[in-house]
Symmetry: C2
């Protein structure tokens, strides 16, 4: 209980950076706001205290997901850490919650995300991307030199990339090596060296750049494969992980890892982290292996892509079955019915600027009429007909009973592309009271 | 020249609402920024002064597009005004530029947009949507009561909607009527009454609500039809406009319009505004007709959807041909080549969180190597293979010559879904000097 109270307190800490013009803020009242005043305002969503559309996070689902993920990974091996991908939420309050619950650090993907996280006080950052721009590299070197607590890791997948990093570090040395992992990829994929030979070439270049650079491990992102059909990805993901293991073994055999205490292997997006957590059972290297998993979407889960991928995970993983692993969708977009222009058609006041639909349309989760919430029609009994910027048109059976001004909650697929549509997201309890709020920095 | 200088000055006025953590801000330097300091910083994009990805607006293209659109509409009839859709950019600096160039007001689509525009000082707002939420209505009534300069218009498409507005206005009267237009729609479309009879029913309900509400005109949005195949939309759009005219004539014949000075007809998104501007030639009503066109995308144009739709417009419209109407794409996303993992494949450091691809992928417009900009391969000579949140993978002919750290500019399709990915957008001149910046409030 005391743990939860602490997390809640952390989760309400404002950065003082709200402009007062965030989407979702009520119209009547003061222009300058902070998160604490929102948590204490006594607002209730169903009572109509929030203008719509508004984005909400269910606090109970959030706490459940955050703790369950860490407990699940703990069940595998002691040297597995969770460094959740912060690009999903880009919310300092959620980063703090994740760290308080036991996460090891925060993964990020872009310079903007890195700069924001540093300015917001986060110390351990796994930059799960190639760091290429000279200004971006200079920023990292400056931060490394200025703050001994800054623990930073980034990726390289080419000798050119190693050279760019090394030259910059030579010119403006931060007084300690930049910690680097070689990224492994697969043909037809995204970044990453394609073969063991190329991995060795790049690893040798990093090794030779010591003490400017320091080779600490190997990285791969199997999540790119999640768009493949199920039967294909069931073999493609393990095959790719096997190649990563071949690469890391080859680099270790040649003594290329500069770090003395451990060799880091990082993989695991939000779909196949169980397969990555399983690796310590069969990977033996010259030093202790630290597995860094980077899932970002577990925290809010979803009602689409990750819900489906999680069903696959439960089917294939004994530990998930034995521990009854579960996640709950925490993220909802609430909007009004604006129009009922035809008997079988309603138009909602939320669209692709309020939720992502890159991984499929959202699920129409709940409706509320006159302040009372009711579960809606089953999946398949309605059809999302048109998604525009600020509207969604839905086809429903005639006699659906929804009217103008009624409220609808949509639960999206792929949380990343919904989080980035909101600067301010409300935390609600089971009775739809606003019990907090979080900021995002996209 | 003096006009242009004035516009430029207006366009640099900061709202004081930058947080210092906006995407695209350099890493080295002060945390608190305003637009004036950016305009005076002496940065150059190609020299590497900006971290990437960054979003830029070409100032020359912007000025060209802004002025050309107004001149084009002036060529039709004197009582046609442009009330550009502000949802496209949600930028106070661009709204100011549009108003300074002669626009009549700003159209908006959501409560958030309305609240932000009011707080940022905009007086004439065409709310091109149904206003349904009780809190949202209360905000409008309060603003109407508090500020005589606030000139506000909104839509209704149902008797329920009229009743919600009327009851609220009765309970908290702002001392003047809320100006309302009936929205006309078409079967299978979005909002709007489907028949002349329904239009009359809703118009009568508004008329009967005077002096709480005041019926000022009729509205329709033909832009929903732009997704239809070309041959279909060529007949569907004029047919829909004909129905709107039938509706407005019927309401006028019954004397339902409360406003004495004019009857307003608003239509015209970014694709068919020429057809709307042509209406005064054949519409005779009992009072002067004011045509309110709401195009939003002309200001930046694009390299996809609107570029194609504009070609159709030029083909069908004599005035566009006679006046050599043209628009230039002004919006670009600049990013680094992060990886060249295979001979025919590069990975860029920008993705669907930096540009929209709801209306097709962006065009790969330019490349820059060692500070020098070169036009790239023709369309069709490359393929956008994967678009992820923060990466785009492109297939190119082997021997493309691009290397890690080279810069690429992408020109998106559909500006709305690219603007909303950025809080800060740089204005650049032809030499890629940063000559200003704008904020957005999504």
């Amino acid at each position: 209980m005391s743990d939860e109270a602490e997390v809640t307190a952390l989760g309400s800490e404002s950065t003082g950076r709200l402009t007062g013009l965030e989407k979702g803020l009520p119209g009547l009242g003061h222009d300058r706001v902070d998160l604490a005043s929102i948590a204490g305002a006594g607002w209730n969503l169903l009572r109509g205290d929030l203008p719509l559309p508004a984005c909400t996070l269910g606090r109970k689902a959030l706490e459940h997901n955050s703790k369950r993920m860490l407990r699940f990974l703990e069940a595998f091996a002691p040297n597995i850490v969770l460094c959740p991908h912060g690009k999903t939420t880009m919310s300092p309050q959620l980063f703090q919650r994740q760290l308080a619950d036991g996460c090891w650090g925060i993964s990020l993907a872009t310079f903007h995300q890195l700069r924001a996280a540093r300015r917001l006080g986060f110390d351990r950052i796994f930059y799960a991307n190639e760091l290429v721009g000279l200004q971006e590299i200079a920023f990292v070197l400056q931060e490394l030199g200025a703050d001994p607590a800054f623990d930073f890791y980034c990726l390289v997948d080419s000798i050119d990339g190693v050279e760019r990093l090394r030259r910059s570090a030579e010119q403006s040395s931060p007084g300690r090596p930049v910690q680097v992992l070689v990224e492994g990829g697969f043909p037809g994929g995204r970044c990453g060296v394609r073969t063991v030979d190329s991995a060795l070439d790049v690893a040798r270049a990093v090794h030779a750049s010591f003490p400017h650079l320091c080779l600490v491990g190997l990285e791969g992102y199997e999540g790119v494969l999640q768009t493949k059909p199920k039967d294909e990805r069931q073999t493609a993901v393990p095959s790719f992980l096997d190649i990563l293991l071949e690469m890391i073994r080859a680099c270790d055999a040649e003594g290329l890892f500069n770090a003395r205490d451990r060799i880091m292997l990082s993989a695991g997006g939000s779909s196949f982290y169980d397969l990555v957590a399983d690796i310590p059972r069969y990977l033996q290297l010259s030093r202790q292996v630290q597995i860094v998993i980077r899932s970002g979407c577990y925290l809010t889960h979803d009602s689409g892509l990750y819900a489906r991928l999680f069903e696959d995970l439960k089917q294939r993983n004994d530990i998930a079955q034995a521990t009854h692993l579960s996640f709950e969708p925490a993220l909802e977009i609430w909007c009004h019915v604006l129009s009922t222009p035809e008997p079988d058609r309603i138009v909602l006041g939320a669209g692709q600027r309020d939720f992502g639909h890159d991984a499929g349309p959202p699920v129409m989760l709940k409706t509320a009429q006159r302040g009372v919430c009711t579960r809606l029609l089953a999946a398949g009994s309605y059809e999302i007909a048109i998604i525009n910027d600020q509207h969604t048109t839905i086809k429903l059976p005639v006699g659906h009973g929804l009217g103008i001004g009624d409220m609808v909650a949509l639960s999206p697929s792929h949380p990343c592309t919904t989080f980035d549509k909101w600067r301010l997201i409300y935390e609600i309890d089971d009775s739809y009271n606003v019990v907090g709020a979080i900021e995002t920095f996209f």
